[in-house]
């Protein structure tokens, strides 16, 4: 387990040292929060949707976590290109522990990003139903983070360059984000898109976060946790399997 801790610590140290990464990865969620939150707010209200900033904030927090988590997978490609991956692959440690350490490190970084977005949203006017909501919210952020870091790691394990990763991310990450209920309610979607979003794990993360921050059915929250746990377990298994197969 020391190896898991070491690789987790490495991810945290690298993140804390990279101010550009810290600030850069906040840019997109903030832009969405401010531009959409304040831009579409009046229209959303007129349409009877209520306060759009309150609707949008859990979605944008999820976005911050999703993007940071999945791009943690990129680090394998960097490590492959700059050599550090070889150092870990010849270490006398099971690759599953290496994968686990990297995933937990990436997930921790993603949760920190989520907390930063949530803090900024609160400063911008987002109103919490109860301060206790932070606890389940952190849990949902962690689930989203583990799930998508594992997905990113799995994908990066079979790719050898950045271009390939970016193509897959564009065809995967953006649809996952757009059809998760982050930006608009899913109830108005055509049937086939509704079905698609039901198979999207982020849908349950966004809903769980929304229920945590704004209040709502505990039963529904429990279902979200179960679905996220299932998706996370499957993706961790697949990610570990793909990581195990890496040859350099």
């Amino acid at each position: 387990m020391n190896a898991v801790w070491a690789l987790w610590l490495r991810q945290i140290k690298r993140y804390l040292r990279s101010r550009s990464r810290l600030i850069g990865s906040l840019g997109q969620p903030l832009l969405f929060l401010l531009a959409l939150g304040f831009g579409f707010g009046p229209i959303f209200k007129k349409a009877g949707g209520g306060n759009y900033l309150e609707f949008l904030t859990p979605g944008i927090v999820s976005m911050g976590v999703l993007f940071t988590a999945i791009f943690s997978g990129i680090e394998i490609i960097w490590d492959r290109q700059f050599g550090f991956l070889k150092e870990t692959l010849v270490a006398p440690v099971s690759r599953i522990y290496i994968m686990l350490g990297r995933t937990l490190g990436g997930a921790t970084v993603a949760v920190i990003q989520g907390i930063l977005v949530l803090t900024i949203a609160t400063l911008a006017g987002f109103k919490w139903t109860s301060p206790l909501g932070i606890f389940p919210a952190l849990g949902f952020m962690f689930f989203i983070a583990v799930l998508f870091t594992a997905l990113g790691t799995g994908i990066a394990s079979i790719l050898e360059d950045m271009q390939g990763f970016q193509i897959i991310m564009n065809f995967l990450v953006m649809p996952i984000f757009f059809f998760s209920g982050s930006l608009f309610p899913l109830s108005g979607l055509p049937h086939f898109l509704g079905v698609l979003s039901a198979f999207n794990p982020l849908t349950y993360g966004v809903e769980g976060l929304r229920l945590s921050l704004l209040g709502g059915s505990l039963l529904r929250m429990g279902v979200d946790i179960l679905v996220l746990f299932g998706f996370s377990s499957v993706l961790l298994f697949i990610g570990s399997w793909l990581f195990e197969k890496i040859q350099i």
């Binding site: 020391n2 190896a3 801790w5 070491a6 690789l7 610590l9 490495r10 140290k13 690298r14 040292r17 990279s18 700059f82 050599g83 550090f84 991956l85 070889k86 150092e87 870990t88 692959l89 010849v90 270490a91 006398p92 440690v93 099971s94 394990s157 079979i158 790719l159 050898e160 793909l242 197969k245 890496i246 040859q247 350099i248």
Partner: protein, 268 residues
């Protein structure tokens, strides 16, 4: 003498292409052994198989008496490796790179601290231990890589082109360190390099590999004598020819990458 590496009928195929074709050789404990060959001859593929980075297609590898196919984790504890290209994390300090390696190799806290300090001092990097590696020169990075590879006290050290890109001063200093380690700790050194001059100076035994097959094996003097050559470089050219092979490794690499991509990273 005891054998630390035993290789029998080792092969590696990437689809139809045979990178290594049934080679067998041994390395004795405590010797400086060189695996030589032109570009694309199969040296790097052989080292990757010996260090568990890729799976052999067939054949047997024993390191320190352990069968690689049966216990990779135990095999990995037997060696340190310095890759041709840097494998340091340049966003970490020198000491942090050493620390993470020591943790991955299961060293306890006191052993970790002692070995890190001893090795960084030995390689003249102790005063710079808190600096990020990205600010180091090429020579310093290479010394740090060797220090890191030795921090778990392996009996065997793989050096893949350890002096490429280094100036004569750094090369000379590096070999002083390595010969010192070989003598004092009876450490086996497994070397690949294109510098025949270095091989002639330091190696006790050589295997020359070409097109994935062994074309000569012996001491530098016996190989020179067998080819009626005055220098090892002449002997090497006599054995491997004068055709330039610069495209070969790129082709091998591309074939391997292509197969990996289409097979979803599946081992072959």
């Amino acid at each position: 003498m005891d054998k630390i590496i035993e290789v029998q009928n080792l092969s590696k195929r990437f689809g139809e292409f045979e990178a290594v074709g049934g080679i067998s050789f041994d390395v004795e404990k405590g010797e400086i052994f060189s695996l030589l060959g032109p570009n694309g001859a199969g040296k790097t593929t052989t080292i990757k198989m010996l260090t568990t980075l890729i799976e052999p297609s067939s054949g047997l590898i024993h390191i320190g008496g352990i069968n690689l196919a049966e216990n990779k984790i135990a095999i990995r504890k037997q060696f340190g490796i310095v890759f041709q290209d840097s494998s340091l994390d340049e966003d970490l300090t020198a000491e942090e790179n050493m620390f993470f390696h020591a943790v991955l190799y299961g060293l306890n806290r006191s052993k970790r601290q002692t070995n890190i300090e001893t090795l960084l001092k030995f390689f003249g990097l102790w005063e710079r231990r808190d600096e990020l590696v990205k600010h180091f020169s090429g020579g310093m990075k290479k010394r740090l890589e060797i220090a890191r590879a030795l921090s778990h006290e392996p009996p065997l050290l793989f050096l893949d082109e350890p002096t490429s890109g280094l100036d004569p001063q750094n090369r000379s200093r590096l070999w002083e360190y390595l010969k010192d380690l070989n003598k004092k700790m009876n450490m086996t050194i497994f070397l690949t390099t294109h510098s025949m001059e270095e091989v002639e100076k330091v190696s006790e035994r050589i295997v020359i590999i070409d097109h994935g097959k062994i074309s000569a094996e012996g001491t530098p003097d016996s190989i020179k004598a067998a080819t009626n050559s005055d220098t090892l470089e002449e002997a090497f050219l006599a054995l491997t020819g004068r055709d330039i092979r610069e495209d070969a490794p790129a082709l091998t690499d591309q074939m391997r990458k292509g197969r990996l991509l289409w097979s979803g990273g599946k081992k072959r």
